[in-house]
Symmetry: C2
Subunit: 364 residues, 2 copies
């Protein structure tokens, strides 16, 4: 008896001439035709030393007929630097890669962001394919074309908007992800429900347990809906002139937490979880969100194993000081993403400072 064919899903990111497909499925890396998206004869897989022994050979097997090299960067956010970028440039030049080469990012957000910017800038732009291996990178950084490296004076300060040819998401990669990292990725999944899709939010409330158990079907569906939501938002505003900023729900509060902890406490997704709840409380103070909706958000985050409390010791002043130097403060204005309802977000610039302070105080 024949087994049923694997159920791979395709999501299209609609950006005119820069449109591209996202393929999602369990075990996808064992069967996807990745070579079809390599337009030249050569490719460089950029990965890190943790992922390379696990997946580099699996990926190479999908690139028959193409001359492929592998470059493994050291693993960790502290290596998301101009120096790592230069390692990629030097490899490409030492090995004679020309403008027709393709860079393939195999790893989490750090690998994807560095490799994307290397592809954007090597000989003024070469082809680029994303193979994200963490939940966070699958639902967030691999979709939408934001690439960057950090500068000692600020995260993601150097980069480009640059779209890949294609994204391949294999949910089997998540089997070995540590529980905190997995949950941190789910925070961004919740975010998509919160900002644009009330129905998906309700689905998440019903399937929290299945997701935590890493059920393949539940994961595929959650990733697909997340990618669809992000793709729709990005399609409407590729270079973040306005609307795209709703993807930052919880990020301004979360960024203040991460900075206050000097990036040694909560993971990014965990800080975003706390930040989303703070944004929801502020939205309630402005009269837009009901107390019951704030409670639903808190309950879902907790059900998914995410923190909802501000780190002990952090004060109202810590937030207000840090949030006013956030890069989202354009021309001195505090831009915040708030919620009009579950499934509806807006970018507002008229937050009364006393309400901001009150929402922070409520969260301590």
């Amino acid at each position: 008896m024949a087994t049923s064919a694997p159920r791979d899903t395709l999501v299209n990111v609609d950006l005119g001439a820069r449109s591209y497909p996202i393929a999602i499925g369990a075990g996808l890396l064992a069967r996807a035709d990745i070579a079809a998206h390599v337009h030249g004869k050569r490719a460089l897989i950029v990965t890190n030393t943790t992922i390379e022994p696990l997946l580099a050979d699996v990926l190479k097997a999908r690139l028959a007929g193409i001359e492929v090299e592998v470059l493994a960067l050291p693993d960790g956010e502290q290596y998301k630097t101009l120096d790592s970028l230069n390692l990629i440039y030097s490899h490409l030049l030492e090995h004679g890669h020309d403008r027709k080469t393709t860079l393939i990012a195999l790893g989490g957000g750090v690998v994807g962001d560095i490799t994307g910017f290397a592809a954007a800038s090597y000989q003024r732009g070469v082809n680029f394919i994303q193979v994200p291996t963490t939940l966070l990178s699958q639902v967030d950084s691999s979709v939408g074309g934001k690439t960057a490296v950090n500068h000692p004076l600020g995260k993601n300060m150097i980069g480009a908007f640059y779209q890949p040819q294609a994204v391949f998401i294999d949910t089997d990669c998540l089997a070995t992800l540590p529980p905190r990292e997995f949950a941190a990725g789910l925070a961004e999944v919740v975010k998509y429900g919160a900002i644009v899709d009330a129905e998906f939010f309700a689905w998440l409330e019903q399937h929290a347990e299945a997701l935590l158990a890493r059920d393949g079907d539940a994961l595929s569906y959650a990733i697909e809906q997340s990618c669809r939501a992000k793709a729709a938002v990005v399609s409407s505003d590729e270079t973040e002139q306005g609307r795209r900023a709703i993807l930052n729900l919880g990020h301004t509060f979360g960024h203040a937490i991460e900075t206050w902890q000097r990036y040694t406490g909560l993971l990014h997704g965990e800080a975003v979880a706390v930040g989303m709840l703070m944004a929801a409380r502020l939205s309630a103070l402005r009269g837009w969100l009901s107390a019951a909706e704030v409670a639903r958000l808190a309950a879902l985050l907790e059900a998914l194993g995410l923190p909802t409390a501000v780190p002990a010791g952090m004060q109202v002043e810590d937030f207000s000081k840090l949030m006013l130097r956030d890069k989202k403060v354009l021309d001195g204005q505090l831009r915040l993403v708030l919620m009009g309802a579950i499934g509806e977000a807006m970018v507002v610039v008229d937050t009364p400072p006393e309400l901001l302070l009150e929402s922070i105080a409520q969260s301590l």
Copy 2:
């Protein structure tokens, strides 16, 4: 009696949403409304230590109402590096520039190329204005959006296609340009006539003396026609997928000369002059250009004080070896820009090696 108004010329570079104006005129920097093209409240002028004392204050006077800083990089191609780029990023971050800042490049091609790439990559792209001060940068690098820095393993290997908001060209800046640099810029001017504008080529033949005397009207007209020619080519192929490559007439031969001399002999424009004549000879060998047309090109280059001879000691093998590792060798194919007539260029990939060698031998 009122004096007549200065005759500034406007050339539009037509790139859809990325279109921008080029303003050209003698004394333009004393009157142009540059502030109108700065969209935020802050700007950083990036220049070099040679230009800063001559022109930084003149430019600042055109930016009333805007908070302006000046950053002077060391002067020279050897500083067109990732390190110089990082000086710009660090300045911007130390001084709290956000995504609404504007970078203004004041200088020659090196300053323009570095500053353009800094603008392309700082916070994923900020506004950018070009104020080119050398003839070469006025007619070439400031138009078309190619930005880059060098890598130890190759020139212009790291960069982006990134268009400015506006370009301001003051022909008075050329008064103090050393004669060799001035002539080197004229080589690129001749190129535009050679590739797309036979009428302009004939005009150059008639006005070589006026140009060498740096006559204001002649210079303005030559720069205007050069910018129009480049703008038309760039509009048809912004990211150099095909047609734009005709702008490289003479560059593959010229690049071989520069590399053989380790960039310590001929200036770029001088090497391009020699290279254009070599390309013309090859075009004649293919039967496309008459001997008379080759002679006209040689005579015009000489009238403008440009070299036409290959450097002493350089052999046929030096060219063939270097040209086959040029980055224009895509997928192992030698792409050359040849001439079908004066005012007509084409990109060809089917050059018989023996004709290439013969054209080189003719030039030694």
